[in-house]
């Protein structure tokens, strides 16, 4: 039961309390760029979840089994980027083969996940927090993806409604989006400190 509790807490922590977008300000580029429409945002969230889970597991394995044993932790940035780029390529090929419609609808955003800093950030955070079990790293990676999906979907929902709102001319477009993002972050600040 102990493990289950730890995993559950880790999941809730990464999704809500330590959400990468709201508290670490990572992945802001797609968060603001692809949150115009809800369906696109959800698709982006799903793709990121997939890639971040894969990348999180693989980087944990490389970091703990290869780099740590050889005392080459300095190499982790380069290795992690390599892993993420490779994983994205693999996902792209897989989607193109088996889910062509999904592949079409992602378009350019799929290869751009490579440069999503939320993914590299999560891999580095797992190392920084000293996560020693592969299972916990997996749960954290998956949770980070879910947290990103939640953040981008909330944002997209608000922005869809903002289209019909009576926004002052000087705040239309990017300014009101940034204000919304700030307020959302403030709201999620309420969870801070709930789980260490």
């Amino acid at each position: 039961m102990e493990t289950v509790q730890v995993l559950l807490l880790a999941f809730v922590s990464i999704v809500i309390v330590n959400n990468l977008v709201f508290t670490k300000f990572l992945g802001i580029c797609p968060y603001l760029g692809v949150s115009g429409r809800l369906d696109m945002a959800f698709g982006m969230g799903c793709a990121v979840t997939f890639v971040v889970t894969l990348a999180g597991i693989m980087t944990w394995m490389i970091n703990n089994w290869v780099l740590a044993t050889l005392h080459l932790e300095v190499m982790k940035y380069v290795c992690f980027i390599l892993v993420i780029a490779g994983a994205v390529q693999l996902v792209e090929m897989y989607l193109r083969k088996f889910f062509p419609t999904l592949y079409e609808s992602f378009g350019i955003f799929l290869p751009l996940i490579t440069t999503n800093c939320a993914i590299l950030g999560l891999c580095l955070f797992i190392d920084l927090w000293g996560i020693k079990s592969l299972l916990e790293a997996t749960v954290l990676s998956f949770g980070a993806g879910i947290g990103f999906t939640m953040a981008i979907c909330i944002m997209a929902g608000i922005r869809e409604n903002l289209q019909l709102a009576d926004v002052p001319d000087c705040l239309r477009g990017a300014p009101i989006t940034l204000i919304t993002a700030g307020l959302l972050t403030l709201a999620f600040m309420g969870f801070a400190g709930m789980i260490g």
């Binding site: 050889l70 080459l72 190499m75 380069v78 290795c79 490779g86 390529q89 090929m93 897989y94 019909l164």
Partner: protein, 294 residues
């Protein structure tokens, strides 16, 4: 010599690091190589060729999500040839050449025509609308303006247009024919169905810029420049017909002659206008039609 020992250690570390990178890189390259062979997608070379000749603007006029999906569809089903409105007959011919078909008769480019010429000063209002500034929303409100058929001027079509070819000028959506590609996005956007695709056999086309089917008296009370269905134009040429208090132009046999010009001059509200490139500005509202020349 401790300094040498240090350097040797450093070189060893660097060598190890390089080895790891090479190892990881090769590992990933192998995985991706296997994946690219196993997950290879057979793409018809013709699809790429067709995609190359398409305008690549993803306007959706063909009914597909974008140019790439249209390319795929047209290769498998040649019946879909000629759906590309922005490309026109030129693109259709090129696609036909790739698919070794003949495109048939060259088609006339269709362009958007707004069937209204009522600017804010010509319109009658019962109250001021302060709701959501969109035509779709405003159209749901009764009496948003007196005329139930005319342009609302909130610019849903302007937002739909990807080519910056539509602008609301003084409360009337106006097409910039230098930019219009005939993609039909605005036709779908207009909640009042004011925009119609007209085959432009000439640079400028004579159109009846009104959609009001109210009786002449009611139309006159609502708009200074509406069609009152008087039928003076029908007396000049059979290109015009009046149906439901509204004059219409038969575009399928459009051939403007002096009779049409006379009809235009005689029209009491000046609702028959030229639309297209270099079209002259229409007669101002309220000005009396000139007396017919003998």
């Amino acid at each position: 010599m401790p300094i040498f020992a240090q350097t040797t250690g450093m070189w060893q570390q660097a060598g190890l690091a390089a080895l790891i990178m090479v190892g990881l890189g090769t590992g990933f390259a192998l995985v991706l190589l296997i994946a690219s062979i196993k997950l290879k997608v057979q793409v018809d070379a013709k699809i790429e060729q067709v995609y190359e000749v398409l305008p690549k603007i993803d306007c959706g006029a063909c009914g597909f999500a974008g140019c790439s999906s249209y390319a795929k569809a047209v290769v498998s089903d040649p019946e879909l040839l000629g759906r590309c409105a922005p490309g026109g007959s030129e693109t259709a011919n090129k696609i036909a050449a790739i698919l070794s078909l003949s495109a048939g008769a060259s088609s006339v480019p269709a362009r958007a025509v707004v069937h209204c010429r009522s600017h804010t000063k010509d319109k009658e209002f019962y109250a001021t609308y302060t709701g959501i500034p969109s035509c779709t929303a405003a159209n749901a409100v009764a009496n948003v303006q007196a005329c139930k058929f005319g342009c609302l001027g909130f610019g849903d079509c302007v937002q739909a247009c990807k080519f910056d070819a539509l602008h609301v000028i003084d409360g009337l959506a106006t097409v910039d024919y230098d930019k219009c590609t005939g993609c039909t996005a605005c036709v779908k956007a207009c909640p009042r169905n004011l925009i119609e695709m007209v085959p432009f056999t000439q640079e400028k086309m004579m159109v009846v810029a009104c959609r009001s089917r109210e009786s002449g008296k009611v139309t006159r009370s609502m708009c200074a420049v509406g069609c009152i269905g008087c039928g003076l134009c029908v007396k000049q040429t059979d290109l015009f017909s009046v149906d439901d208090n509204l004059a219409r132009m038969a575009y399928d046999r459009y051939e403007p002659g002096p009779a049409c010009e006379t009809a235009m001059e005689k029209c009491p509200t000046g609702v028959i206008v030229y639309r297209g490139k270099n079209a002259l500005p229409p007669r101002p509202a309220g000005e009396k039609p000139q007396a017919a020349k003998v």
